[in-house]
């Protein structure tokens, strides 16, 4: 069965690699690019928040930090516009991690509910900071070295780099899931205090998980900045980003591996398509908010879990029959 799963993954990757070569229209390549960016972010977000249950609604902090790192370094190092700037992408991720450490250290000392609120608060600090400090260009943002690759295949290199990011974070996420570290995160989700009583170093696990998830989101932000060529604080530090990433993970299935990928695929591609079709920004807000509500209220577990439950129901019924045979063990008031 393990072989079959791997085959599906390979197929998916192959399809994505082939995509820009088959579909020549740069519009679709750009949609593909943004979709991949969000797939990476959602998976990275899920790696911490989904596994541990600590819903972080300030991940735009990492995205924006990555973006500004890319912008500031490329500007001040007087870099020539072009592929060399791709090297700054991992740097963006690293800087995001540096930010995540103190951020996590403060935010993770409190209980879950307060944690969410703090992530939002820190997010606003960053947004305000970026809008007001002069070195970040204030509200007019920053303009990066202008890359002239021609509009017909401008998005293609970005597409492939984003694909690499997605493959990277998916592999890391899968590895975490299989590891002892991942087990500890899941234990924290179910009963943090119990986990503590079983020797799990809860605080350090949480901080490490949080910081780790910042890396890829930071890289995604840096990549975005490079692609856009011009960044504004309200777009890279965007509250809608925070919620979108969470929503994608929820939609697909919190805590699963394929969930965030699926969620991002569905949401981002449709959102991109809608933004292009309906230029009215407010309508998009209404649609987005409504979709959000529908998902949360009617499918809180997400698509992947829903499907999986249906399939395992049969297996459960078989096992239940086995349970009633053993008298001594099945004692108890329940």
């Amino acid at each position: 069965m393990l072989q079959k799963k791997n085959l599906w993954w390979l197929l998916g990757v192959a399809l994505m690699v082939a995509f820009p070569l088959v579909v020549k229209d740069p519009l679709y390549t750009s949609i593909g690019f943004f979709t991949l960016v969000f797939m990476a972010c959602a998976t990275s977000w899920n790696m911490f928040s989904g596994y541990s249950g600590y819903i972080a609604l300030g991940s735009a902090v990492f995205y924006g930090t990555g973006a500004y790192t890319m912008a500031l370094v490329s500007i001040h190092a007087n870099m020539a516009p072009g592929a060399a700037m791709f090297w700054l992408v991992p740097l963006g991720g690293l800087v995001a991690m540096v930010v995540a450490l103190p951020f996590g250290w403060i935010a993770l000392r409190v209980r879950r509910h307060t944690f969410v609120v703090i992530t939002i608060a820190v997010f606003f600090i960053f947004q305000l900071g970026a809008s007001n400090f002069s070195f970040t260009g204030g509200t007019s943002g920053l303009a990066l070295p202008f890359i002239q690759w021609g509009s017909s295949y401008y998005f293609i290199p970005f597409f492939y780099v984003a694909l690499v990011l997605v493959i990277f974070i998916t592999a890391v996420s899968a590895a975490v899931r299989r590891s002892r570290f991942g087990l500890q995160l899941l234990a924290i989700r179910d009963d943090e205090d119990r986990a503590l009583g079983l020797g799990v170093k809860v605080t350090s696990v949480k901080i490490v998980g949080f910081t780790l998830s910042a890396f890829t989101i930071g890289m995604a932000g840096a990549l975005y900045a490079m692609e856009q060529g011009q960044i504004y604080p309200q777009f890279v530090f965007n509250p809608v980003f925070d919620v979108s990433v969470a929503l994608m993970a929820f939609l697909g299935g919190l805590g699963t591996l394929t969930g965030p990928l699926l969620g991002a695929l569905i949401l981002e591609s449709s959102q991109q398509y809608l933004t292009v079709s309906f230029s009215n920004g407010s309508l998009y807000l209404i649609l987005f908010g409504s979709l959000f509500l529908i998902v949360i209220l009617f499918m809180p577990q997400g698509i992947v879990v829903y499907l999986r439950d249906r399939l395992s129901k049969k297996a459960e019924l078989d096992r239940a029959a086995m349970k009633t045979n053993d008298v001594a063990i099945s004692g108890g008031t329940n």
Partner: protein, 257 residues
Amino acid sequence: MTVLLSAQNISRSFGGLKALNNCNLEVEKGSITGLIGPNGSGKTTLFNVMTGYVRPDSGTVTFDGTEITGEEPDKVFARGIGRTFQLTRIFGRMTVLENMLVATQHDEGWLRSMTRSKSSTVDVDNAMEWLEFVGIARLATLQAGSLSYGQRKLLELAYVLVANPDVILLDEPAGGVNLTLINQIADKIRTLNAQGKTFLIVEHNMEFVMNLCHSVTVMNQGSNLVSGKPAEVRTNPLVLDAYLGGDDEEVEEVVNG
């Protein structure tokens, strides 16, 4: 006759309520010690203090000669002190086997724990052995949340044992469970005790306590009242007094066993 785990003059108040009042407790190495007392006497609070979940206002907790007062629960566990909870706490969304693997102790940093697979053969074998011991090995792949109450109690016992602790604190292991299972649990405790493990057990089931424990401490209103062999404690007038303030049934049990 060495004392392995002890609490000295523990006091703890919650708001206006003094839950523990200069409480003392000694647990001999290799013994099965019982901790009994009417409801509200502070037994679970004492457990919480001894395992680091609650900080005492004053007093000390000592383990094997070292003071461990106020240490975090994960450190207490790493020292070899395991405990179960009155209302079973398991990781509902993980499988039974995964529950066991959480407790497997490895002295490693986070980096190592990320690269190490959660189901390394050694760990799985160890976990399965303990699951066999308590009798729920065949439930290993089920989601822990689907277990019955009795099965959960066994799981809680098992995953505390996985790390091979020296002392095990059990909070009402026989609560809400049928007779057959109670006897099974008592047997398991005796077997483990014969292998050298020390037990401290809070219980209301008098028969269970009297038949199993080497020595018993009675608590009342946050303080320790009497300690001694079960037979002595049972007939002590102070103990009867403490219980007379409470349930008649409990008094019956204490007197008649």
